[in-house]
């Protein structure tokens, strides 16, 4: 019995220790709490082998649920509630023998205190509780009665109650100017001006604080500040990331975020638009633009990678970002196995991730072209919008006109029928290769037309005669050979060596064309390129047009970027290997899949439409036009051992009769020769189509007009920038569990679903991202609101109520104030997810007003400030440090939004680029060009996140590099010099006035006499140096681009510059009071 009491006592002691070091004691007192005391131990020390992930652990004993832990294991028990000696868990953790737990070699061992906690818990009945953050947000949370006198609002009563229980009391209120500095930085990222400080100090009205907060919240600067925080969460960068890391156009999304915060749109909408704006009914451009959020992950641009691997990686990134940003859960673990600590199964993971997989994307972006990865949407400016509208209308008009002309042509057709000539002369042939003999190629001066991936050495090439333009020989590597063909000889291809036809087939998508040839394939299993006007496959987005063989099917396409911006049709019937086949494709210039046809042996093949969304150009490679080539393509599989004969290119769309004529050599001739009354209805119709395309003058004119209108529309579209967005596929992509998380190891089929341990997916919602956001924003969702208010609490205090904002799971920290967190979350939801209201409440709380300064002994009592019995030490963020000096010096631009800016340090980044001249040097830091693999070095020096992945907090740590940046960095020296000139203009020779003002504007407080004295000494010393060395003054004053506007002597100006720069470097300037 005495033993038992001993355990109890020591467990209570332990609780006290834990309270101070890690978690929080609630007012329940002595009895241990599973969530607070036990679960963290089990999770960290036991679950790795005795947890949820049953398939990946050796032991059958599982501790994650009471049912498992208390189960009869054949006469003995893991845990027998109330009975230590019958509990294997107790015996093992106390054992020093071979059976001790954790085993001797385990990395994480139990401390004695932890063993005591576990024993006490067993004795108390080994009760399990649902994890705090997985339980629904309570409908109501009672506010404690305590602390009424001190409290300014409900927040404070929760805080006071905790302090009181722990025997602490609130710290004194900070001075008014200190509060103003803190709240101004926290809400706007900028310092209060001297006027603002003076006004506020003068204002002794009862609502002085409140008025100030309301004013700050309404500023654009506040929206910029909130956006800055969101950019880390959203892993925003102005470049694609990974290896090549080229620039991308996504900043309009950032400007949308600023505007959303400025409008204070409800946070549930803010989320919904970003997750599923495209799925909202009649989605607006802004709603679609918001979905760029889910495309801000890195995109791969490195030829040769396993493309599916990276597509899967993008989906994973979205899943992890949404999991972290909105749910505070670490889904990553369950990508490869059931989560070891949280109840997230692999099935949960893939169920959630499949919501983010249903877009028409590719795991590789184009290396050789500037195509924006799909899905994307055009983002026109006003002028472009107007041009697009007009061009679209013109196309519609021209289409209607062509339709009308076709109807009218019927009469003329009758007329033509009676006068038609029998000659089946095919118009519009621009190339015809017969492959009957090799010739010696002549040197050319347009080597653009030689396949650079092969050789340009003419001695390795043969010429092939071109019937239409005998001077324009086609070229082939000598590796290809001539063999008996369908007619005369044909070319047999190696698969690695192309036949290229110079200056041929360079067709924009408004140009109708046809390509006709005979082919013989040796097999019907492999992919093979038959011909293409396209430099590359996947790493060129397949830009161009092509005919390929996919196993036994033929596949014709026109691509801007495969797969999201292309038209593609594929034959249904399987080819016969070893047999000649006549293949024609015709295209009508419409950019529509129905305008692209495949004919087999003269008959239009039945095809399926694979893609029908071509909206941009198909001809522009980064290094110029490409050439038409047969039989191979860079990094693609060529037509190995395939035969090609009689290859024709037409610069118009052939009619069916013409194609048939080319195939059988007689049909058109025969029909043309038939007397009119002998023609069948089908023949008449075919002849009419032929007539329209070849003979009818008005139709010809209408086609030319239509083509012109299309060209204009296409040009207007090509001139309009595209931005990556989410656009749901018509049919969800089949989703699979991926074994061990590997992209190519598919397991069972998965349907889109939310994790089982969280509320059910609403039955009345669609299983897509929109349904998912409805689920996430449902009013009692256990995580969303808690995670959000915690992030904003962190924004104001520097630390969240949950100190691990990215992990609300078993391994994360428990909230320091669970009831307060719940109350805030409930209040947030009940008041329409109003971020501004939440921030206002926090800013106006007594808790927020507490000074950070306490005696050392008090600090020792609660080193991590878990009781919130003082303000937090907070260094300014990277952005604030730079913006502060720009603001104080008067250099800061007040321009909101726009393309990324390039301040001085961009020219010193790991991948340097030229700094801007003028405005771009002085924009707020959230606009600084963000290159993922080489971020702005000044931002990095001050611990900015690198934006590779979603991050909810930054690790702020001092380093000597920061001192170097602030003392020597161009931006900081220039700002010092410019501010010095302003000070001299205002105060002339009055150095103490200069010091006072500089100190006040940089630290929001007046210097104390001792500080004034030291700074005066500093000034005198520097003045002396510069008076002795005027050349040095001149040099210092030349740092940066801004013009010096002062009449003061260079020595004086330089000395004040050093003075200002020194104040900038003071702790009071970079940390909040």
């Amino acid at each position: 019995m005495s033993v038992v009491t001993g355990y109890k006592l020591s467990a209570t002691l332990t609780l006290f220790l834990i309270t101070l070091s890690n978690t929080v004691c609630s007012s329940e007192g002595e009895k241990s709490s599973f969530n607070r005391d036990v679960l963290p131990i089990l999770s960290d020390k036991c679950f790795h082998c005795h947890g949820r992930d049953a398939t990946n652990q050796d032991s059958e004993f599982r501790l994650h649920s009471q049912e498992n832990a208390l189960a009869d294991l054949g006469g003995y028990f893991g845990i027998k509630p109330g009975d230590l000696e019958a509990s294997e868990l107790h015996l093992r953790i106390r054992s020093n023998d071979y059976d001790q737990m954790p085993p001797e070699e385990a990395v994480r061992q139990l401390t004695d205190e932890e063993k005591d906690v576990l024993d006490a818990w067993i004795l108390e009945g080994a009760e399990y509780e649902a994890h705090w953050s997985y339980t629904s947000l309570p409908e109501r949370v009672d506010v404690p009665d305590e602390g009424i006198q001190w409290a300014k609002n409900a927040i404070d009563r929760f805080v006071f109650a905790r302090q009181q229980f722990a025997g602490m009391s609130p710290n004194r209120e900070m001075g008014k100017e200190a509060w103003l500095r803190r709240v101004t930085f926290d809400l706007t990222g900028l310092p209060p001006s001297i006027t603002e400080i003076e006004d506020f100090l003068r204002d002794d009205s009862t609502n002085a604080y409140e008025n100030r907060v309301v004013e700050l919240l309404a500023k654009k600067a506040c929206a910029e500040r909130l956006t800055t925080e969101w950019l880390d969460v959203a892993r925003y960068s102005d470049s694609y990331g990974y290896q090549r890391d080229e620039r991308r156009f996504v900043w309009p999304w950032r400007d949308w975020v600023i505007e959303a915060f400025h409008q204070n749109i409800p946070y549930d909408q803010f989320m919904t638009w970003q997750l599923a704006g495209d799925l909202l009914p009649d989605a607006t451009r802004e709603q679609k633009l918001a979905t760029t959020f889910n495309r801000l992950h890195s995109h791969k641009k490195e030829g040769g990678v396993a493309i599916e691997e990276f597509r899967v990686e993008y989906v994973a990134d979205r899943t992890h970002t949404v999991g972290t940003a909105f749910m505070g859960l670490t889904f990553e673990c369950s990508r490869c196995h059931d989560h070891k600590y949280d109840p997230i199964t692999m099935k949960d993971y893939y169920g959630l991730s499949s919501f983010f997989a249903n877009i028409d994307e590719r795991g590789l972006i184009s290396h050789f072209t500037d195509a924006v990865p799909t899905p994307s949407m055009p983002l026109p400016n006003q002028g472009q919008e107007q041009a697009l509208k007009e061009a679209e209308l013109a196309v519609a008009t021209a289409e209607a006109e062509y339709a009308r002309v076709q109807e009218e042509a019927r009469d003329d057709f009758q007329e033509w029928l009676s006068h038609r000539k029998p000659s089946p002369l095919l118009q519009g042939i621009v190339a015809h290769l017969t492959f009957d003999s090799f010739e010696t190629p002549q040197p050319r001066n347009d080597d653009d037309n030689v396949d650079k991936t092969q050789t340009s050495d003419l001695s390795n090439l043969y010429g092939l005669s071109n019937v239409v333009t005998p001077g324009n020989l086609a070229l082939t590597s000598k590796a290809n050979s001539l063999v008996p063909g369908r007619r005369g000889q044909a070319i047999q291809l190696t698969g690695d060596d192309a036949v290229t036809i110079p200056n041929t087939g360079q067709y924009a998508r408004d140009q109708p064309f046809s390509i006709v040839c005979s082919v013989k394939t040796p097999e019907t299993k492999q992919r093979a390129v038959i011909y293409r006007h396209s430099r590359g496959w996947d790493d060129a987005g397949s830009l161009g047009y092509e005919l390929i063989k996919l196993g036994g099917r033929l596949n014709a396409k026109l691509c801007h970027f495969w797969p999201g911006n292309a038209i593609c049709v594929e034959t249904e019937d399987i080819l016969n290997p070893g047999q000649w086949m006549h293949v024609a494709i015709t295209y009508d210039g419409s950019s529509k899949a129905r305008g692209l046809r495949i004919y087999l042996n003269g008959i239009q093949a039945s095809t399926t439409i694979v893609k029908d969304n071509l909206t941009r150009q198909i001809t522009k490679w980064r290094d110029g036009e490409d050439y038409l080539a047969i039989g191979s393509r860079y990094r693609d599989r060529g037509f190995k051992e395939g035969l090609v004969d009689d290859f024709y290119v037409f610069d118009r769309s052939l009619s069916a009769l013409e194609v048939l004529q080319l195939s059988d050599g007689e049909s058109l001739e025969q029909v043309l020769a038939k007397p009119t009354d002998a023609l069948s209805a089908t023949e008449l119709n075919e002849l009419f189509q032929y007539y329209l395309l070849v003979w009818d003058q008005p139709a010809r004119q209408a086609r030319a007009d239509l083509r012109k209108a299309r060209r204009k529309w296409n040009a207007a579209m090509d001139a309009t920038p595209a931005i990556t967005v989410m656009r749901e596929l018509d049919q969800p992509r089949p989703a699979y569990l991926l074994k061990r998380g590997q992209y190519d190891r598919r397991g069972e089929r998965i349907t889109a679903d939310t994790p089982e341990f969280l509320p059910d997916f609403p039955a009345d919602q669609p299983r897509n991202r929109l349904g998912l956001s409805q689920w996430l924003t449902s009013p009692n969702h256990p995580l969303t609101a808690r995670v959000t208010v915690n992030r904003y609490w962190q924004l104001m205090f520097g630390k969240g109520l949950v100190r691990t904002p990215e992990d609300f799971g078993a391994q994360g920290e428990r909230p320091t104030h669970p009831a307060l967190l719940d109350w805030l979350a409930r209040d947030f939801v009940d008041h329409g997810w109003n971020v501004r209201r939440l921030l206002r409440m926090i800013a106006l709380s007594a808790t927020y007003r507490q000074s950070a300064v306490v005696p050392g002994e008090v600090r020792e009592q609660d080193p991590e400030n878990r009781l919130l019995a003082r303000g937090f030490d907070k260094r300014l963020s990277a952005e604030m440090i730079r913006d502060n000096v720009l603001a104080v010096s008067g250099l800061l631009s007040n321009k909101v939004g726009g393309p990324p800016a390039r301040p001085y340090d961009i020219s010193l980044s790991y991948k340097p680029s030229e700094a801007d001249q003028g405005l771009g040097l002085y924009c707020r830091s959230l606009y600084t060009f963000w290159q993922r693999t080489a971020p702005a070095p000044v931002m990095t020096a001050f611990n900015a996140s690198n934006r590779e992945v979603c991050r909810l907090r930054r690790e702020v740590a001092p380093s000597p590099l920061q001192a170097l940046v602030m003392l020597n960095g161009t931006q900081f020296v220039e700002a010092s010099r410019v501010y010095a000139a302003n000070l001299l203009a205002r105060h002339d020779e009055n150095s103490s006035a200069i010091i006072s003002e500089a100190f006040l504007s940089l630290t929001s407080q007046n210097p104390k006499p001792k500080q004034l004295e030291i700074l005066s000494q500093l000034y005198r010393e520097q003045l002396q140096i510069f008076e002795e060395h005027p050349d040095r003054a001149e040099k210092l004053l030349a740092v940066g681009n801004a013009i010096n506007e002062t009449t003061a002597s260079p020595a004086r100006h330089a000395a004040v510059t050093v003075l200002v720069n020194s104040i900038m470097n003071l702790d009071e300037c970079v940390r909040l009071p």
Binding site: D245, G304, A306, T330, Q454, D539, P958, P960, I1025, S1062
Partner: protein
Amino acid sequence: MKQPSTENRSHCTGFDNTLAVSRREALSRFGHGLGAMALATLLNPKEVCGADLAAAVSHLPAKAKRIIFLFQSGAPSQIESFDYKPVLNERHGEQLPASVRMGQRLTGMSGNQSSLPLVGSPFGFAQYGQCGAWISEQMPHTAKIVDELCFIKSVYTEAINHGPGVTFMQTGSQFPGRPSMGAWLSYGLGSHNKDLPTFVVMETHGQGGQPLASRMWGSGFLPSKHDGVRLRSDANVVLYLKNPEGIDPASRRKALNRIQELHRLRLEETSDPALETRIAQYEMAYRMQSSIPEVTDFGEESESTLKLYGDDVKTPGTFAANCLLARRLAERGVRFVQLYHAGWDHHENLPGGFKEKCKQTDQPTAALIQDLKQRGMLEDTLVIWGGEFGRTNYCQGKMTEGNFGRDHHPRCFTMWMAGGGVKPGFTYGRTDDFSYNIVEDGVHIHDLHATILHLLGIDHERLTFKYQGRHFRLTDVHGHIVEDILA
């Protein structure tokens, strides 16, 4: 000979020292420079010296105190350098036998070629040293030091492309986000030196090739102070190291004295420990302004040393200059010096390209080993040489007389280590006659990492950092120490 004078504290105990001194004592020390206390330990001792960490780093005796990693970015061909395969010359031009390839996937760059002809190395090979290692004629200087080297011919990786490959070698994961090896060591071992960063990165200037990213030396989720500090080859060796024009060191010192006076004033008022850190931060910055120019100035190096590294050594930013600088940094206690030399990605024109790369790197590499040896530093400095993967035994693109290319090959490649705790003049692991598959003693990247940490006295399973609820390691959940190569 210069030896770091500040190695007297045992691992991760500096924090005790720091706390043991009174605030007054600490302050008076700050006034005279920070002494032996590294900046890192002044921050949050708990963070620097977590419970896991103390166990990890005091667990094993360290054989090496520092690392110099000569990373050859782009992936040098093992077949042209160390993995001598006469069979490839005998069967030059024949197709890669299916029995060798065994259906394994190839990259998207050569995977669709209709023909995969084997290519023998055009370079002569001979055996050198007492160990009789085979070395390519393109590496005559390396040939002279083979008895110092420990070759691992059986390194393999999962990555088939540069981005993932280099990221894997440097961080233990193919995907961005994890801390780099140097950051782990900085976190695990702390600083050796009061005036220089713990982890320094240099890149040979102007090599082109596959782009690198700053995450290769980033701290991932570790505190960002463990980021590698890149030394540039231009005037601003470290970002904004130089005073602005018109500020000379004496006037800077004067201004700094006043700044520090103001900081001390504030410290007395608030007793806020962050002020102590701030004071130290500015002193260290000031010292770096002289210590870094000092270390990058080769003026005191003897003619014979300079000659050893070759003519390039006089041009800042060359591999030779970086190798010598690496030695000078190592001498001063920098824990991890990471060199990058790019441009080994020989998909085409391999013979010419490979020769050029060897010309740039062979002599300085050998010189570094010899130099370290002469100074008695090789025994506790671990030098590592290698790229992110190997190259194919078959030709990528068109094979012509005297010219060919090789694609990426993750299944086997050669790396070598020298010095600190590895067997000298030793070869480990073996590939088949085609340098395609490993037939003996494969060493995965995780194994390599585990072994490197072991040599520095770190148990790779215990050097962990808890992030997002998980205890992360450099070796993830893998890695075996390659016992056979330990001296």
